[in-house]
């Protein structure tokens, strides 16, 4: 499992001897891969290019053209028309949701992987299955439930869980706990049993075993999962769509649903809004890509 944390760690010497016995790779492989790579990059490059061009230039010359200069003004316009707020909303939802998800998932994973319960497997199955369901199945009951749970107006100005960050956070948590529990329980099962034994002899409580022994050892898995979950929850479109009505509370991924209506046919502004939405993703892509990939493959390596 940990082998997937660094996928490039193949001893170079052995690789070379293997290759010398193999036929050399045909140039067509490079032609094919490069062609696909170019196709793969076009949508984002086109979006970036469009976002950097003044509307006056594209109106005059058409979008598929050069000239008219490049500008950041579209970004400024998009930012001021709400994208700044949307990004903050995304942070308000994503950060607590990821922290709570990892905390709760690590608790369950600890209990089911380090202790023998009769319902260990049942719990794991229910959690994992919950993560795989299409969320729309729950939409109607959840909407009605949240509408009918009264909250004091000091907590929620709608008087219910609708139109609050809490509602979106808790649904993201409920949906993501399953996957994280699955990954973490596999990770913890692989830790030697003697660790717990030694702690028990020392009289450490269950909480201390969890907090001081198991959790620190899970740091690589937690780091990978945190990266993955930040992206997944940041990318969540549906729960805010269902539960949040006021535009100024939408997270950015859901808010882009209004892009087309807001910037009617001004494709430069639509592209700029899209690029603003991509920025946090790109930061993680460049800085933490390895963590993200590790998180994905941790889940898959136990088939």
């Amino acid at each position: 499992m940990s082998a997937t944390l660094d996928t490039s760690a193949v001893p170079l010497g052995t690789r070379n001897t293997v290759v010398s016995n193999k036929r050399r790779n045909s140039p067509w492989i490079y032609v094919f891969l490069t062609a696909v790579a170019v196709l793969w990059l076009i949508p984002l490059v086109w979006t970036l290019y469009t976002s950097l061009r003044p509307n006056a230039a594209t109106t005059k010359l058409g979008y598929f053209s050069v000239g008219g200069g490049l500008t950041f003004s579209n970004f400024g316009t998009a930012w001021n028309s709400g994208f700044g707020t949307y990004l903050i909303n995304s942070a308000i939802i994503t950060v607590p949701a990821v922290v709570i998800t990892l905390f709760l998932a690590s608790c369950v994973a600890f209990a089911v992987s380090r202790f023998a319960w009769r319902f260990n497997v049942v719990v794991l199955i229910l959690f994992t299955a919950g993560n795989l369901l299409p969320p729309q199945i729950l939409a109607t009951p959840i909407y009605q439930l949240f509408k009918n749970i009264p909250l004091p107006l000091s907590v929620s100005d709608s008087g219910s869980l609708l139109n609050t960050y809490y509602g979106v956070i808790i649904m993201n948590v409920a949906f993501q706990i399953g996957f994280c529990t699955f990954v973490l329980s596999n990770y913890m099962k692989a830790l030697p049993d003697e660790l717990g034994e030694a702690a028990r002899v020392d009289g450490a409580s269950v909480w201390r075993q969890y907090r001081s022994i198991i959790l620190p050892l899970c740091r690589p898995a937690l780091g990978a999962l945190a990266t993955l979950e930040v992206i997944w929850i940041y990318n969540d479109f549906f729960w805010a769509l269902l539960l949040v009505q006021s535009g100024d509370r939408l997270p950015v991924t859901t808010a882009i649903n209004n892009l087309k209506g807001e910037f009617v046919n001004n494709y430069n502004l639509i592209a700029a809004g899209a690029m603003i939405t991509v920025i946090p993703t790109l930061i993680i892509y460049f800085v933490l890509q390895r963590q993200f990939v590790a998180g994905l493959t941790l889940g898959a390596s136990k088939g």
Binding site: T4, V10, R15, V18, V19, K22, R23, Y30, L33, V36, A37, L41, I42, L44, W46, G62, Y63, F64, C107, V108, A111, F115, V121, I125, L133, P134, Q136, I137, L138, A139, T140, P141, Q144, L145, N148, M171, S205, V206, W207, N235, F237, F238, L242, T253, T254, I256, N257, K260, N265, Y267, I270, A274, V278, T281, L296, T297, A300, S301, K302, G303
Partner: protein
């Protein structure tokens, strides 16, 4: 789900390690048992109240009639009327089923094999392999909602890249790929492939790195072609990853929603079961009974691959 239930367990676990674990559970102090109970109990409660009970509630609502306004006491029994209606009279239902099916077949026949192919090629000793990987992987990190917006810039009839290249952008003969009912499903599937292939590639590549290199080497020495090495040696060894990839492909096809919703809220050629549920939830088309019947159909269909996959995965745990 209490600690005591574990205490009364009498069946002998097959392995020494498990027995020692169980013994330890018996010797826990009351505080420890309470702590453990909370550690499992709170997340289980969240999962039960927000995932599983609502799923059951969807099934319950599907047998009732309710406009969703006013209290749930207004729900009237409807028998199977909602199901009769969606199966025989609801115009969008069968197209949605067909679209979900096409979605699945397209992913299974085009997008997933493309991802596997990319992984297999990149697993050979390719120069710049990491750069290629990073490029193919980039869309995996984007939301499908955003992917819908980005491809709108490619597909639009007024200003899209494709129509601009063809020189017909904004002209009467321009093609609006997302707007044209006869092609928008395929246009959406290409956008979905952009993301799905990279996803499959990264999972498959991780699996391929785990395949013993000497297996491939031995096959190459015996004069096996690349195709033979893959189909006879690598593919069978990759069974666990193959299962995961198949499950992901099916689940993605059933969960497809964001992309069609951002394009046109799942109408005009892009109806999917998931989007019909949402259309019946609010606004003019509001009919919670009908929406819940569609949700129940989606639930039953989704549970088939989920149950098969999980029973395979966790059977090994029980045996261990």
């Amino acid at each position: 789900m209490t600690v005591h239930q574990a205490d009364t367990e009498t069946k002998d676990p097959p392995q020494r390690q498990q027995r020692s674990l169980r013994r330890r559970l018996k010797t826990l102090s009351t505080t420890d048992k309470v702590v453990l109970g909370l550690m499992v109990g709170i997340p289980t409660l969240i999962e039960a109240c927000l995932i599983w009970l609502p799923s059951l509630a969807s099934i319950g609502l599907s047998f009732g009639r309710w406009d969703g306004i006013g209290s749930p006491t207004n729900i009237k029994g409807a028998g199977v009327a909602n199901y009769t209606y969606i199966f025989t009279n609801y115009p969008a239902f069968w197209p949605a089923v067909l679209h979900n099916l096409i979605w699945l077949i397209f992913l299974a026949v085009i997008a997933t094999p493309l991802g596997v192919l990319l992984a297999v090629l990149l697993d050979r000793k390719i120069r710049f392999s990491r750069i290629y990987q990073s490029i193919f992987f980039l869309p995996v990190m984007l939301s499908l909602a955003l992917i819908g917006i980005i491809w709108q810039l490619i597909y639009s009839g007024d200003n899209g890249l494709i129509d601009s290249l063809l020189g017909i952008a904004g002209k009467p003969q321009s093609i609006d790929f997302f707007g044209d009912k006869s092609i928008n499903l395929w246009a959406a599937l290409i956008a979905q492939t952009w993301r799905h292939a990279g996803y499959v590639m990264i999972l498959y590549l991780a699996g391929l790195k785990g395949v013993d290199a000497s297996l491939k080497e031995a096959a190459a020495l015996d004069g096996a072609t690349a195709w033979q090495t893959f189909t006879r040696i690598v593919f069978p060894v990759m069974k666990p990853i193959n299962t995961v990839v198949i499950v992901i492909t099916i689940i993605e096809a059933l969960r497809a929603f964001d992309l069609v919703y951002i394009i046109n809220a799942g109408t005009n050629g892009l109806e999917l079961l998931s989007s019909l549920v949402v259309q019946n939830l609010q606004g003019e088309g509001q009919d919670l009974g009908v929406g819940s019947a569609i949700a129940t159909v989606l639930l039953v269909v989704s549970l088939v691959p989920i149950v098969i996959y999980l029973s395979r995965t966790f059977r090994k745990d029980r045996v261990e």
